[in-house]
């Protein structure tokens, strides 16, 4: 914030301000304080307008024609559904698609198919794994249930993670590079800026007894 104020009162912005408002402002030292206050107010309003506060969080999705990747001339745009039409009906989130996809599933708002081939075995595992047991950040309680609601075991095991608890070496650096958890988180599932969703278990309290200790 300090850096922002400094930038706002910098000479370039002052020039801009003078150009927009009145030339007489320039050089009148008595107006300097007023001018700075107005600047701070304008900056604050701009910030508020960009990031709505918690209570008034409004979800917004760009229509396909304006999303920067669809060709505005494509005939598909007359047929395809815009994100807002579908996503505005689903449980809200602040990040990603602005949809809490696990909540959507658990609340029964959506019921996506689990398989196409009749012979596919739908596997759900309900075991939590505690990770990052020796790190500095809060412990990660990894829930298999929510993951297997969406995914099959083979999507993560054994090429990303070994099934044996404690056998995996995790690294935030690798995750941020799109490896390990970062194959999905940060790309399709909720992004890596939502630290506390994974680092969700305090270190100074008794650990959940049912959970398995990993690495």
């Amino acid at each position: 914030m300090r850096a922002t104020s400094k930038w706002l009162s910098g000479s370039s912005f002052r020039n801009f301000f003078d150009a927009v408002f009145h030339k007489e402002f320039v050089g009148r030292r008595s107006d300097k304080l007023l001018r700075r206050r107005v600047l701070v107010l304008v900056a604050a309003l701009a910030l508020v307008a960009q990031a709505p506060i918690a209570a008034e969080w409004v979800r917004h999705w760009l229509p396909l024609a304006k999303d920067g990747i669809h060709d505005p001339k494509s005939p598909a745009l007359k047929v395809l559904q815009d994100p807002a039409a579908a996503l505005s009906r689903l449980p809200a989130d602040r990040v990603g698609n602005q949809v809490n996809w696990v909540a959507a599933l658990e609340q029964g708002v959506i019921n996506p198919r689990t398989n196409i081939l009749p012979e596919t075995k739908v596997r759900i595992l309900d075991t939590d794994i505690l990770l990052n047991l020796r790190g500095g950040t809060p412990i990660v309680r990894f829930p298999h249930r929510q993951h297997t609601l969406w995914l099959d075991c083979s999507n993560c095991h054994e090429h990303l993670f070994q099934s044996k608890a404690g056998a995996n070496k995790f690294s935030m650096e690798r995750i941020l590079q799109g490896e390990q958890c970062g194959v999905c988180h940060g790309a399709v599932s909720f992004p890596l800026t939502a630290c506390a969703r994974c680092h969700n278990t305090p270190r100074d309290k008794p650990l959940p007894a049912a959970a398995v200790r990993g690495s």
Binding site: A19, W61, D67, H70, A76, V183, A187, V188, T193
Partner: protein, 124 residues
């Protein structure tokens, strides 16, 4: 005066230009499309995951979880593989409706888009 005018224009442009961003997890497939004379494919995860769990495409259909890593050919789709598992005129529209999938702007690279929170140092 000129400097001030330029600054005004620059600031005006910055404020007016609404960020055009793909929806989170949109995938562009363009390893082959434009070379073959059609628009790149836009695959939207949000639309598909309302209808199918990840495991359907990433386990049953065999899509690797890395944008650009799947060598998807139209002949495979027509033969019921990859997208063709559903896009067969029964579960979803058939492969003859080219434009509905091949709907991207020209020049897009195969990659995952729309990570408005993490466009970070990774390979995305």
């Amino acid at each position: 005066m000129l400097t001030r005018l330029m600054m005004l224009i620059a600031l005006g442009a910055a404020l007016a230009a609404a960020p055009a961003e793909a929806e989170y997890a949109d995938v562009v497939l363009n390893n082959r499309s434009e070379k073959e004379g059609v628009r790149p494919v836009i695959f939207s995860h949000w639309f598909h995951r309302i209808r199918f769990r990840c495991k359907v495409c990433h386990d049953e259909l065999g899509f690797k979880m890395r944008a650009g890593a799947n060598d998807v050919r139209m002949v495979d789709i027509s033969n019921g593989k990859f997208c063709g598992m559903c896009h067969n005129g029964q579960i979803a529209w058939g492969a003859e409706r080219c434009d509905l999938c091949h709907s991207g702007r020209s020049g897009l690279k195969s990659r995952i888009h729309g990570g408005h929170e993490t466009l970070g140092p990774g390979r995305w």
